[in-house]
């Protein structure tokens, strides 16, 4: 594959896109782990939501 005389621009465009998408995915995955961990901690301390108390689950 020959990217021609403007290869730097093409590679930069794909690199920027990859970095932004990777950052988005990393943020989503790390945020998911963090929220699950906090919910687990609260659950371990016996703190439950009102809805859970009503259903007894």
């Amino acid at each position: 594959m020959n990217l021609g005389p403007h290869a730097d621009f093409i590679i930069a465009a794909y690199a920027v896109t990859a970095v932004v998408v990777a950052a988005l995915i990393a943020w989503v995955v790390l945020d998911y782990s963090a929220q699950r961990r906090i919910l687990g901690d609260l659950d371990d301390r016996g703190i439950t939501r009102r809805a859970q108390r009503k259903t007894g689950s």
């Binding site: 020959n2 990217l3 403007h6 988005l24 609260l42 939501r49």
Partner: protein
Amino acid sequence: MAVIDLANPARFLSIVNRVLPWLAAATIILFAVGLYRAMNAPDDYQQGATVKIMFLHVPAAWLGMFGWGVMCVAALGTLVWRHPLADVAGKAAAPIGAAFTFICLVTGSLWGRPTWGTYWVWDARLTSMLVLLLLYLGVLALYWTAEEPGRGARAAAILSLVGAVNLPIIKFSVDWWNTLHQPASVFRMGGSTIDPALLSPLLIMAFAFTLLFMTLHLAVMRNEIFRRRVRSMRLMQAQELAEAHP
């Protein structure tokens, strides 16, 4: 299953947990096919290999606008029906839409330098797209800085609906004003002007980016529901402590 069932956060979470792995797998497969087709697409007779930037730039532009459309529908749900999931959907779409708009602006700039001779020009299409990014940042600021989430959600919903006026400006800017940016070449009266050898990888990449948007949107919505649960549990804990030690 009735649509109203989806409006229950617990039911929504159970559906998301089942759908998300399949959606992520479909996104990866479609990106693999799309990137392979994009890398093997022929060069443009005028732009040469720089046309490969189109496979990122155009889908990112579409999804930047699509994200704002999602926020507008969610804003109606927040303001009219006052449904908490609508607010969750709007808040989740904002950072993803902002990221795609940013990708559109950067890749457009990198495409513009070799084809137009400049990274940036204040023409109507580029400027209205920059305004879209600033609007996204405004919505994110409202969500992140509001002390009371409900108030932030309502303000963000109003800004989403007001900002929707920018969408037709972006779309028709190339027709209404004399711009350096080319006019519409995919969705236009009389059919696409793009050669099928370039159009088919473009559409595959657009579909892949759309699936990526949907996957990320559902995942961010799930995180936001968890975040709200944490908040409500902490508030209950504080309330109980206050009642125990008046």
